[in-house]
């Protein structure tokens, strides 16, 4: 491996005194100009491995064995002064959350120029000159003036572009990117990926890209390393890993990529279960002056929809599109400013609380973040049983039996009943949240991004669970998501929201195959699809045709 610029051999990383290593004898080589992706789920050790290269492990973590050869020297043995000459100058790093990785108190220009001036001894003016040109290159509008702004004046996607420009400025040989697009909306994510790919290719910089999403990186990477529980389980060229996966975990990661089987138009006549008519929700900002009326933003702008019995209706939109508000409005958590919501023909939008409670027992919700959605001080059994609090006709015994059944139905054993939420895994927590909705014997469940906080393989299991429950209990779903890929296989109908309005709706097949609205087209065009052709897998982009095949 003489041609590699970075040669990681037998690296192990431990936290605390002894214990299980978070990275266990990992080997990895990065060639000049190579785009190398490390893929793994949370806890796989991928981030720790990447951070160890620059000696930036969190407090308590340390390298317990192995070598990292970069440019002829072993990085693990460097003094902190020598390591600082490598950081930024030879190896740059981009972080996951653009909202917290730029210093909120410093101007963009100051932050960008810092590393350049430190490593090359440029003057302030020279550094600024370089900085704005690169900002312009990564697509920041009005780049010259952007230097004097603060990070909070930019959107997440823009901040991540600024991060990229800032890190590339001293022209490092290697760029470590730790999930740089995970916190972004789907379309923004694709754009930032493209900028990253193009600029690094242009400057001949190697990239070590860390991600949990095989579909996102696989076809952009030259080589792929898959990690699981601290170990490297698969490594090779993009084609080998994608088309001939050996390890089960890799196969599971691959299975999370949409297979492109949208459901066709359903011609059976079904009765309408839930109907929203011209729903409007306005949020009033704070009064800027006492005598001025506060500006109102329309989170929902005359939204109408029908949910038929036994159907899964997907509501797709970017953040801020009003999709979450719609879900909350249906549940009565956010009052409507005008419009009506009918459940089984009864208008439930302006009922008094007691009446609303009685009428909407068959309407339940599952929230996005299972950590936040479960009261941290209640135990599993009580959490789920609380749903039956307003059924005085049931005895405690009956409630307990029904709760146990619901939990079992969601794949949770009886020995978990007395656990607290933090003692459960992410997938288990979401199953508890689903059981909490299920125990009330609903007809309609609003699923508000029910899998976006979960690892991809867990996502897959939860989606299967939801499918099964739907069949077993004749449920109807309103499935809210920012990621159209998640709903492709399970949605009957899809509804696209932009800026509080519904801009497109139709059967899943129609929306996926012949998208009409601009936003939908972009959304679909960045969605990779894994398709089996002649016994081999191919990664396909719908609008761009076949991206690469193996």
């Amino acid at each position: 491996m003489n041609c590699s610029i970075c040669d990681i051999s037998d690296i192990s990383i431990c936290f605390g005194k002894a214990g299980v290593p978070v990275v266990d004898r990992a080997n990895l080589q990065i060639a000049p100009g190579e785009f190398h992706a490390i893929v793994g789920e949370s806890g796989s050790g991928k981030t720790m491995l990447a951070r160890s290269i620059l000696g930036l492990l969190p407090a308590g973590g340390r390298i317990t064995g192995g070598k990292i050869l970069f440019d002829g020297q072993d990085l693990t043995g460097l003094t902190s002064a020598a390591m600082r000459k490598v950081r930024g100058k030879k190896i740059g790093m981009i972080f996951q959350d653009p909202l917290t990785s730029l210093n909120p108190a410093l101007r963009i220009g100051t932050q960008m120029g810092e590393a350049l001036r430190l490593h090359s001894g440029m003057t302030r003016e020279e550094a600024r000159n370089h900085a704005w040109k690169l900002l312009d290159r990564v697509g920041i509008p009005d780049a010259r003036r952007a230097l004097d702004r603060y990070p909070h004046e930019f959107s997440g996607g823009m901040r991540q572009r600024i991060m990229i420009a800032s890190t590339l400025l001293p022209r490092p040989q290697l760029l470590i990117a730790d999930e740089p697009t995970t916190a972004l909306d789907t379309i923004v994510q694709a754009n930032v990926m493209e900028v990253l790919k193009e600029t690094t290719a242009e400057f001949g910089i190697s990239v070590l890209f860390i991600s949990h999403d095989l579909g996102l990186v696989a076809h952009r990477a030259d080589r792929v390393t898959v990690m699981d529980h601290g170990k490297i389980i698969e490594q090779g060229g993009y084609e080998d890993v994608l088309f001939a996966p050996e390890h089960d975990k890799t196969k599971a990661l691959l299975a999370a990529i949409p297979q492109g089987q949208a459901k066709p138009e359903d011609s059976t006549q079904r009765d309408t279960l839930l109907e929203v008519r011209d729903a409007v929700v306005e949020f009033r900002g704070r009064r800027s002056l006492l005598w001025r009326k506060p500006a109102a933003t329309r989170a929902l702008d005359s939204v109408s929809l029908n949910l038929k019995r036994g159907e899964t209706l997907a509501i797709i939109g970017a953040s801020g599109s009003g999709k979450t508000t719609l879900g909350r409005a249906i549940l009565g958590l956010t009052p409507l400013d005008s419009g009506t919501i009918r459940l089984n023909g009864v208008n439930i939008s302006d009922l008094p609380r007691a009446e609303h409670r009685k009428r909407t027992r068959n309407l339940q919700i599952v929230f996005q973040d299972p950590v936040s959605a479960l009261d941290p001080r209640m135990r599993v059994l009580d959490l789920v049983m609380e749903s039956l609090r307003h059924n005085p006709e049931l005895s405690r015994k009956v409630k307990e039996t029904r709760t146990t059944e619901a939990l079992r139905d969601c794949g949770l054993d009886d020995d978990l009943h007395q656990r607290l939420p933090h003692q459960l895994s992410g997938g288990q927590r979401q199953r508890v949240a689903i059981a909490r909705a299920l125990v009330a014997r609903p007809e309609v469940i609003v699923l508000d991004e029910p899998v976006s906080a979960l690892d991809v393989t867990v996502q897959e299991q939860v989606l299967r669970l939801l499918e099964r429950l739907k069949k077993d209990h004749e449920l109807s779903y309103i499935f809210i998501s920012h990621d159209i890929g998640v709903v492709e296989d399970i949605a009957d109908r899809v509804l696209i929201m932009v800026g509080g309005k519904i801009v497109e709706q139709g059967s899943a097949e129609k929306v996926f195959n012949t998208p009409r609205h601009d936003f939908t087209r972009k959304l679909i065009s960045v969605l990779p699809e894994l398709r089996e052709v002649d016994g081999r897998f191919q990664l396909i982009y719908r609008d761009a045709g076949v991206a690469r095949s193996g």
Partner: protein, 313 residues
């Protein structure tokens, strides 16, 4: 920035108005005829009638408030029951003494506590941090007046190095004035430094966990630059609020340290006024201190965006 300043200043006015109403009502809460309370001598019928007429005490309460507020705005806070001196003049001359002590004490505390707190956070859980934390907790556990008494006992009585009681203005005789200030300031610094240090440490720890600190390190910046340029502004913003609160609590608590060192300050004046039922004076002090404190908080609010540009109204 300009908008922010204007809005902050305007937002202070409702609070000020409520404060004046509360201070105005204060006299009505004292049992007895307000005129008698303000004159302090129910035998002096002539003075009573004069006060009644001047403050319009025969009119409705809102009208009385307007008259009173008008007087206040013209600088007429009434006269002291005790010695007949104008209330505002007495308060202002006494405040000068208190302000000196507080200003020096807060400056010294900040200059020591913030670097120490940041170093403790940087060396979290190492011996330097442990030492600083233990010292902080100990400092927070000693009341400043006991430190004052101990200082007097050691440096004033036993060693005779410093004057124990009394006050000379540093404006008139600088070196002697400073000698008189050393012990009260030391006592206040030791009493207040713990709070600032704890806050500086906690907010630095919080900031050091942020990703932008790792980002700064990943650029190859030295630890000194990371601390000074990246951690300091973010950690100082919350500490600034605490500083405002400490100035307030010193203004309110000045009475204790001024009693120990018999300084002719505002706090001593408060205690004397309360024990001699000099209600016009108590009322005046309440109003002046509250207004000063509102202004101090306004200033910290206005300084805040320098350290945290994200704040909006």
């Amino acid at each position: 920035m300009f908008r922010y300043t204007i809005f902050r200043v305007l937002a202070a006015f409702p609070t000020l108005l409520l404060v004046t109403i509360l201070v105005f009502l204060f006299i009505r809460l004292v049992p007895g005829d307000p005129a008698a309370v303000l004159v302090g001598d129910i035998q002096n019928i002539g003075r009573l009638e004069e006060i009644r007429a001047r403050l319009g005490l025969d009119r409705s309460v809102p009208e009385q408030f307007v008259i009173w507020l008008g007087n206040i705005l013209q600088g007429d806070f009434g006269v002291s029951i005790l010695n007949g001196a104008p209330v505002l003049d007495t308060i202002l001359s006494r405040f000068a003494v208190t302000a000196q002590v507080i200003f020096v004490a807060v400056t010294v505390s900040t200059l020591i506590a913030i670097p120490a707190g940041m170093i403790a956070a940087w060396k979290q859980n190492r011996w330097a941090d442990n030492l600083i934390v233990v010292t902080t907790i100990a400092a927070m556990s000693v009341p400043s007046f006991w430190i004052g008494l101990t200082l007097i006992l050691i440096f004033g009585i036993e060693l005779g190095w410093l004057p124990s009681v009394g006050y000379v203005s540093p404006l008139e005789d600088f070196s002697r004035g400073v000698m008189y200030l050393i012990m009260p300031v030391t006592a206040l610094v030791m009493g207040e430094i713990g709070g600032v240090l704890r806050m500086a440490r906690a907010s630095t720890i919080e900031v050091m966990r942020r990703e932008y600190i790792t980002h700064a390190r990943s650029k190859g910046l030295s630890e000194g630059v990371v601390l000074a340029r990246h951690a300091f502004p973010n950690a100082f913003a919350p500490t600034l609020t605490i500083l405002g609160m400490i100035i307030g609590s010193l203004l309110g608590g000045a009475a204790v340290i001024e009693t120990v060192f018999t300084l002719p300050g505002l706090g001593r004046l408060t205690i004397d006024a309360i024990s001699s039922r000099d209600y016009p004076m108590v009322q005046g002090i309440l109003l002046v201190v509250a207004v000063i404190y509102v202004v101090v908080n306004l200033i910290t609010d206005l300084l805040y965006p320098i350290f945290d540009p994200r704040v909006k109204l």
